[in-house]
């Protein structure tokens, strides 16, 4: 538990650092991974399928290695 939330935190940091449109980027990641980033919290279970999809989406959309 907590791995997805950690990934979410890194994504938000990258968005802030690069000055990206948060809703646009989060929307793309959400659609590709099949998980709304707003719903990810510390208590979100670490579903390996979702983790894999989100990692792939982050690489493709933001060029971020999670």
């Amino acid at each position: 538990m907590g791995q997805l939330n950690e990934m979410k935190r890194k994504i938000e940091e990258k968005i802030k650092a690069d000055g990206l449109n948060a809703s646009d980027v989060k929307g793309k990641l959400g659609l590709r991974s099949g998980k709304l980033l707003a719903f990810i919290s510390d208590s979100t279970p670490d579903d390996p399928v979702v983790i894999q999809k989100l990692r792939k989406a982050a690489k493709e959309v933001m060029n971020l290695n999670l």
């Binding site: 809703s23 646009d24 980027v25 989060k26 929307g27 990641l29 659609l31 709304l36 707003a38």
Partner: protein, 395 residues
């Protein structure tokens, strides 16, 4: 642009239409040219045949009128009745010189049947006494009225009239014959139509040696071996290629025949041929007609270029217009919906989709906006729903 996008497919379809359109224009123009050149060739053959018939009729009429006045000439009549060849030659020669200028190159007097020999040839006085025994001679003897038509002699083709020569009491004392070389007709025809003509003679009715001898006399090339079935007696063009014909003259239909189109250098010709029959109905020769359709061909090529350019421009403009229309009416609006849907998923719940039109995409925009509202409402009530779910579980 990806290969499976609607935009690519539309562009590919329109490009296909462009190709088909240009090919269609080329095919239609080519078909029109072939059809029109065929019509021109047919019309040239029919026109030449009509003109030839008119000239024949006119010349027969002329020779008939001339023979009337010759028969009425008392000096000629007296000399012929007296069978005085020298006197007849003497009184006729000045008239023959005049008639020759009018195209009447043959003038003969024949004795009465049964022998019906040549009494005098004005065009060849030393030769006389022979019997020709032609269709003409038999016909005039049988009918005792004027007989006219074409006659292929050993070395040439002539239009002739032959009629009884009566004395003042109406008794037939012999026959008078006038003739014109058919070769001169083609020059008149060329003057009137601008087409090129050639007169072909069927070898079957000719004498090889006589043709060789007459070629020497007339200082023309002996062209007997040029073609297997016919000789070119006369032509209005220097070109040998234009008069090419490989079939048998006897096989020609009465209305003539259009031959293949012919290209020589920058010129394009249509060609045709029609039979020329003698008085007995034999196909003793043929008239070759060549019409230069270069100006028509160039006009067709120009029209084809213009049509291709116009078609290309119209289709390219059409392609651009369809592309612009699709981009504005469909693609841009779909991209806008995609961007808003993405932002909503990303947490920007307040971005509304504006319904820009009442068309198909507009209906989709409307549906998507309704879906967004439901989605936002669901998200707003997630805690409440979770609570209800937990409450349900505890019960």
């Amino acid at each position: 642009m990806t290969w499976n996008s609607i935009r690519t497919k539309v562009v590919a379809t329109l490009a296909g239409c462009l190709l088909v359109g240009v090919c269609g224009v080329l095919a239609v123009t080519q078909y029109n040219f072939k059809r029109d050149s065929q019509v021109l060739a047919t019309e040239s053959v029919a026109g030449a045949q009509r003109l030839f018939a008119i000239l024949e009729t006119r010349e027969i009429s002329k020779m008939s009128a001339v023979s009337d006045s010759l028969i009425a000439n008392s000096q000629i009549s007296d000399a012929f009745r007296a069978q005085d060849r020298n006197r007849l030659l003497q009184v006729s020669t000045p008239l023959y010189i005049d008639l020759k200028r009018q195209g009447i190159t043959n003038w003969m007097f024949h004795t009465r049947e049964p022998g019906m020999g040549v009494f005098l040839r004005l065009h060849n006085p030393p030769k006389f006494g022979d019997s020709l025994n032609r269709f003409f001679d038999k016909e005039v003897v049988r009918t005792h009225v004027l007989v006219s038509g074409n006659e292929l002699a050993k070395a040439g083709f002539a239009l002739r009239v032959i009629r009884p020569f009566p004395d003042s009491q109406g008794q037939i004392i012999g026959y008078i014959e006038l003739g014109e070389e058919l070769g001169q007709f083609i020059r008149t025809m060329k003057q009137q139509t601008g087409n090129e003509y050639g007169l072909l003679l069927n070898k079957k009715y000719m004498d090889r040696q006589f043709w060789a001898d007459s070629s020497k006399v007339w200082k023309r090339r002996d062209n007997w071996d040029d073609n297997p079935a016919f000789v070119v007696a006369d032509k209005t063009t220097e070109s040998e290629n234009l008069m090419r014909f490989d079939n048998d003259l006897d096989s020609l239909p009465p209305e003539g025949k259009v031959l293949e189109r012919f290209q020589s250098g920058n010129s394009v010709y249509v060609r045709g041929i029609f039979p020329v029959r003698d008085a007995a109905g034999n196909t003793v020769g043929a008239m070759f007609v060549v019409r230069d359709i270069s100006s028509f061909y160039l006009a067709m090529r120009h029209a084809m270029k213009v049509m291709v350019i116009v078609t290309l421009v119209a289709l390219i403009l059409g392609m651009l217009f369809v592309q612009l229309l699709l981009t504005r009416l469909v693609f841009q609006r779909l991209e806008r919906i995609t961007a808003i849907a993405t932002r909503v998923v990303g947490g920007d719940y307040g971005t509304e989709i504006q319904v820009s039109s009442d068309d198909e995409v507009g209906k989709f925009e409307q549906l998507f906006e309704q879906f967004r509202c439901v989605f936002v409402d669901v998200l707003a009530h997630v805690p409440e729903l979770q609570q209800q779910a937990h409450g349900g579980d505890s019960r």
